[in-house]
Symmetry: C2
């Protein structure tokens, strides 16, 4: 069962990344500063796109770098790609093989932009095309559903943010990540029991905001890939602009709402869902007020800094998706209809 | 029943917009050219966010302007917003009232950027804050679910693209929009019958790509708001990076796939869904090869240019959502849990 063991490999893989790539990351940060980059232009698909959502918030708030998430079809199907003057062009891909992500990096290079590949395959076409390569050091991932490559991509993004900010406190926080994730593993047995509750669930929504907008998307993707549940992710704000109408009494809502600057806006939506709409709530948090609203509370360590909550908060979500896959009697290693490497144009 | 009549008002409203705002739009285009804008930074929620997705593709491919879709919580909850040097900051909002969209425009103004409000409320706080206002001229919209304000926002975006490109052919194409939409109205009765098929549907996915990525999102949003179906939108590329695993035999897939540069990539996915996965397909298209794959084909006029297909292609989707709401016995005017103006922070 490689999926379960790859989830449990994460502390060691993140430690390897922290230990081996800081020099490279500092060099990339120097190149970004030297070039006077105006914005980041980031291309990715699937799990890597969710890592890109984290970069969008983290680099935006810690490093004041605005980000455009690339629409690769503009580079592969339409005649004239956007002008990328003064952009840092970033491709994120576990395999470094998707032709559309490669096309964005090649165009960035063609236009003279600084280019960066974040990948688990430093010999891949994507890596060969880029000025700089951040090797996420996750080791071979055998399960079709990505887990350790996701948290390694998040950590690579967080390391670059720390290097750009020059904050030694940020680097010290990063060192503690592996042990925080170890602590989450103690939830494994109780999550296996909780998963039973959702054996017959066919649809749900997943909410997160700010840094954990990425977590909501990645959690929903694991549920779709592994358990075939139609799990739709939202920011709590977007959710209120229409989709909340779907919620009838008993409708399942999963939420990730750790302490931090967007916590109160998340709590407000959770209260409305519980008190006014009688939704069925599963909440990952380290705040009692949010956990108390949940039918199924999942408690994170209390002291994790907000900016690192996505790297830790996705782990119970991965475990829950794994156990629900088993509860539903599906294959945890090879989901139907998808392969490990998807080569979209 | 204002929803149905507002759908039918669209040709007249678009004609009013075309007739009254071209001078303003040309002036905005001159200001954009004069400022040497490097990228657009666009803030919107809900239906207006879907209009923003159209701008992302259209301004990217016709005007080579890269776009970042803003993450408003970076402006309302996190301490330091991104640096927006050389950005065109755009807010799209029917009501011009949402505090988070306003916060993005205010910050853009504070940083000395060129700012543009696209709104149905030229006296609103959003309009008052912006350097330029594009009044979408849609008239009062009474139904909670937005229809005519969506197509008017798309047209405003398309007019700005035409002005930036200086193409007289583009302006001539735009003049034909109202009559193409009139032709779609002839489908109203058959769509009312088709809607019956989905009376007991509780979930589906909605696919589109390129310019019609926006259509997939807006169609899904109408289904969620009005019929409470969990309808999840995807680009056909993203869909293959994981979510396609959800599709079991008989699973309903709605798609918008008109002729154009991404048509063959859409057709390939539709073939896989039909032939390999036995999905149940509803397809909006003007290509026989796509319509023949569908259990429920919805035919668009043959000769519409690709860049305008989103403005016409959403209309049968609106009608279908309207009739399905009636088939399910819900309120077409006031969906549960949502209001016309949603004021998120």
């Amino acid at each position: 069962m490689s999926l379960h063991s790859e989830i449990f490999e994460q502390p060691a893989r993140l430690e390897a990344l922290l230990g081996s790539q800081r020099t490279t990351v500092e060099e990339i940060a120097r190149a970004i500063r030297a070039r006077g980059v105006a914005f980041a232009f980031l291309a990715a698909r699937g799990t890597s796109d969710n890592a890109g959502r984290y970069a969008n918030y983290l680099w935006g708030s810690f490093n004041r770098l605005p980000m455009a998430l690339a629409t690769p079809s503009l580079f592969t199907y339409y005649q004239q790609p956007p002008l990328l003057k003064d952009a840092l062009v970033v491709g994120i891909s576990q395999s470094g093989m998707s032709p559309d992500i490669l096309a964005v990096l090649e165009e960035g290079r063609h236009q003279g932009c600084l280019t960066l590949a974040i990948t688990n395959a430093p010999g891949s076409p994507l890596a060969k095309c880029a000025d700089y390569v951040l090797d996420i050091q996750a080791g071979p991932e055998m399960a079709v559903a990505a887990t350790k490559t996701y948290t390694a991509e998040l950590l690579a993004i967080a390391m670059l943010s720390a290097a750009l900010s020059g904050s030694e406190q940020a680097w010290r926080d990063l060192q503690l990540l592996p042990q925080w994730i170890e602590r989450v593993f103690s939830l494994d047995e109780s999550l296996a029991l909780s998963a039973q509750r959702y054996r017959y669930m066919s649809q749900c929504v997943v909410l997160g905001r700010g840094y954990n907008y990425a977590t909501a998307f990645e959690w929903a993707l694991k549920l779709k890939e592994l358990t075939y549940v139609e799990a739709e992710p939202y920011s709590s704000a977007d959710f209120q602009h229409g989709p909340i109408a779907m919620v009838a009494s008993g409708f399942p809502v999963f939420a990730v709402a750790p302490q931090g600057r967007v916590f109160h806006s998340m709590l407000e939506v959770l209260r409305r869902l519980r008190d006014d709409l009688s939704a069925d709530l599963l909440v990952i948090s380290n705040e009692d007020t949010a956990l108390e609203l949940a039918h199924v509370p999942v408690r994170l360590p209390a002291e994790i800094p907000e900016w690192l909550t996505p790297i830790i908060g996705i782990v119970p979500a991965q475990l829950l998706a794994y156990h629900l896959t088993q509860a539903k009697g599906y294959d945890t290693e090879k989901p139907r209809s998808i392969r490990k490497v998807t080569e979209t144009q």
